[in-house]
């Protein structure tokens, strides 16, 4: 028998239902694999083996009852070991956001998205590495050291959900939760050759997601395929009274049983093919669009004319929101404290010493953009241009059902490649930021490799709350191709 950790989520779920394996066996296989691979990839910030084995035993008990009583089958997430990005709170489990300012913090409550997964039988293996407060595109901004890309250990896994993407790529878990504020699920999914869903803004509760940019933050998930992600999407989505921005609209019950895309109208935005992008990425995306056409879709070029403004808009709005959100780190209620003579001095000393370089840079940028005399020119103007970007998508979706485009201009870059020049790092997000500014969902999935055998991904975007079409289209692509079945050799 193959290593249990090599099964896909759906294969593992099928084996659990039939009684061929137990959740405990799956969990132990994952924990053993984590122990073997962590020294190489450093995907986790903390592990919860005791919690995981207890959850697995509970899951097994319920599964055997289910089999005896032959009532409705459990959700497909039941008994499945997963990893959780370390920006989502789990009661009593260390939650650091990759920052020293939250070292030792154990939340008194659990994020709704995680709570729903646990209630649906999922087993929590541990918390995955992230750029500090999810600010970054490489996981190099983690205060606890970078995660390495399982396909090439000299390269970044992308970010900020780099730990989640690397853990799925390395088959140490069946799926992972991530978060996406400017591309932080999609870009690492692309760099690590896995499938990642960024949900519509408001689709999944943000309660217990430690805030970065509140008008942009979304919870998403990563796994090997759209089919593996779907049960997680169904579980974590839906209204939560604890998040007033979570949408009351019902979650669609999506079925993946049809690979015929006849009549599907796909738009390929010309602004997403820019000078300086890696030629292999451009070619692979065009080829993937041809695959979708062969399944019945009709593709044509469209225009999202304000695309080049998404980056400057994002890097005003996100830091502005971050500077307000991160004002809460005052060393009074949680986290370590750098002692000083008075309270004000304690704020300055603690924040200055325990926030990392990128976090301080964004707090400074956001504070400036919101400060007297500059508010209208920067923050106010960025909010207006955001309207134009949102309108671009709304106009496009009057003519097409779906937008297909690259995830990032390049495949995974080398560790340290952008560390001296923050603006060059920000440019990595150029194709993922617009979806966050418009609030629309996106999915990233593998469509090939470059000559260095690094994964290339494609992104699909749909109208707000239009995740069904993303899942169906990706499923059809993955039934017709096998890129998502490729694994790194570690």
């Amino acid at each position: 028998m193959t290593d249990l950790a090599d099964l896909t989520l759906l294969e593992a779920a099928t084996a659990l239902r039939s009684g061929d394996v137990s959740s405990r066996e799956l969990t132990q296989a994952c924990l053993e694999r984590i122990e073997a691979l962590e020294p190489k990839i450093h995907a986790f910030l903390s592990l919860t083996p005791d919690l995981a084995l207890k959850q697995a035993e509970d899951a097994d008990r319920r599964l055997s009852e289910w089999r005896k009583e032959s009532v409705d089958p459990p959700p497909l997430t039941w008994g499945i070991p997963m990893a959780i990005k370390d920006v989502l709170c789990i009661e009593g489990v260390p939650t650091t956001c990759g920052s020293r300012i939250l070292e030792g913090f154990r939340p008194p409550y659990t994020a709704t998205s995680v709570e729903r997964l646990i209630s649906s039988g999922a087993v929590v293996l541990g918390k995955t590495n992230t750029d500090e407060f999810a600010m970054g595109s490489s996981t190099e901004n983690s205060a606890y050291g970078p995660t390495l890309n399982p396909w090439d250990l000299t390269r970044v896994p992308g970010g900020s959900s780099g730990g989640s993407a690397a853990s799925v790529a390395a088959n140490v878990c069946y799926a992972a939760l991530g978060t996406d504020t400017g591309g932080s699920v999609r870009q690492p999914a692309s760099f690590c050759g896995v499938t990642g869903i960024k949900t519509s803004y408001g689709r999944v509760s943000r309660y217990g997601l430690i805030a970065y940019g509140s008008s942009l933050d979304t919870v998403g998930a990563l796994a090997h395929s759209a089919a593996d992600l779907l049960p997680i999407f169904h579980v974590i989505s839906g209204h939560d009274p604890l998040d007033s921005t979570s949408m009351p609209e019902p979650v669609p019950n999506i079925a993946l049983d049809d690979t015929d895309l006849t009549g599907l109208r796909i738009g390929v935005p010309k602004e997403y093919f820019i000078e300086g992008m890696q030629g292999e990425v451009e070619t692979a995306v065009q080829e993937a669009v041809r695959v979708l056409e062969s399944l019945g879709a009709v593709a044509r070029e469209i225009s999202l004319p304000h695309t080049d403004l998404a980056l400057p808009v994002y890097y005003i709005i996100a830091p502005a929101e971050a500077s307000a959100n991160l004002a809460r780190y005052d060393a009074v209620r949680y986290g370590p404290r750098i002692e000083a003579e008075d309270l004000r001095g304690q704020y300055f000393a603690t924040r200055g010493a325990l926030f990392g370089q990128e976090v301080k840079r964004r707090i400074m940028l956001g504070t400036y953009a919101l400060s007297a005399g500059y508010y209208d020119a920067y923050y106010g103007q960025a909010q207006k241009v955001r309207t134009l970007i949102k309108d671009d998508f709304e106009s496009a979706f009057k003519e097409v059902d779906l937008i297909a485009c690259p995830v990032a201009p390049t495949t995974a870059f080398r560790i340290g490649e952008h560390s001296e020049d923050p603006l060059s790092m920000y440019l990595e997000d150029v194709f993922t930021l617009p979806a966050n500014l418009a609030g629309v969902p996106g999915i990233a999935f593998p469509i090939g490799f470059d000559t260095d055998r690094l994964p290339i991904g494609m992104q699909l975007n749909a109208p707000h709350l239009g995740e069904a079409i993303l899942f169906k289209t990706t499923y059809a692509y993955q039934e017709a191709t096998s890129w998502h079945k490729e694994r790194p050799s570690l």
Binding site: G104, F105, R106, P108, Y109, Y201, G202, S215, S244, T245, M247, P248, L309, Y315, I316, A327, D330, A331, V332, R333, Y334, G335, P336, R337, E339, A340, E341, D342, L343, R344, G345, Q346, Y347, F348, A349, R351, G352, Q357, K360, R361, I363, M364, L365, T367, Y368, S371, Y378, G380, Q381, A382, Q383, K384, V385, R386, T387, L388, K390, L423, A438, H464
Partner: protein, 96 residues
């Protein structure tokens, strides 16, 4: 748009951040670069464009105003760097 080191120091004061002299220099340069890049926003005519603060339609959902249990005090204080008599303990706020 180039920031001066004095402006960087002022922003750090507003943001309650102690910066090292090296950080002051680095941020002066890096924030200037980023703001320079963001300057292209000013070229867009937005005189007739409303701002987007949230992509969602404005809603003000209400819930029944009933008393509900809240987490116990000791659970909340468990993460405090310093506490005393059921309160967060901090250094002096005002000169005595």
């Amino acid at each position: 748009m180039a920031l001066t080191i004095e402006e960087v120091r002022h922003i750090a004061q507003l943001a309650r951040l102690t910066l090292t002299p090296e950080e002051e220099l680095r941020y002066t340069e890096q924030l200037s670069d980023i703001l320079d890049y963001a300057g292209r926003l000013s070229k867009v005519d937005t005189s007739a464009i409303p701002p987007t603060a949230s992509v969602l339609p404005l809603r003000a959902p209400l819930r029944p105003d009933v008393v509900r249990p809240c987490p116990p005090q000791e659970l909340i204080l468990r993460n405090a760097p310093s506490d005393q008599d059921g309160m967060f303990r901090v250094p002096p706020v005002l000169d005595t």
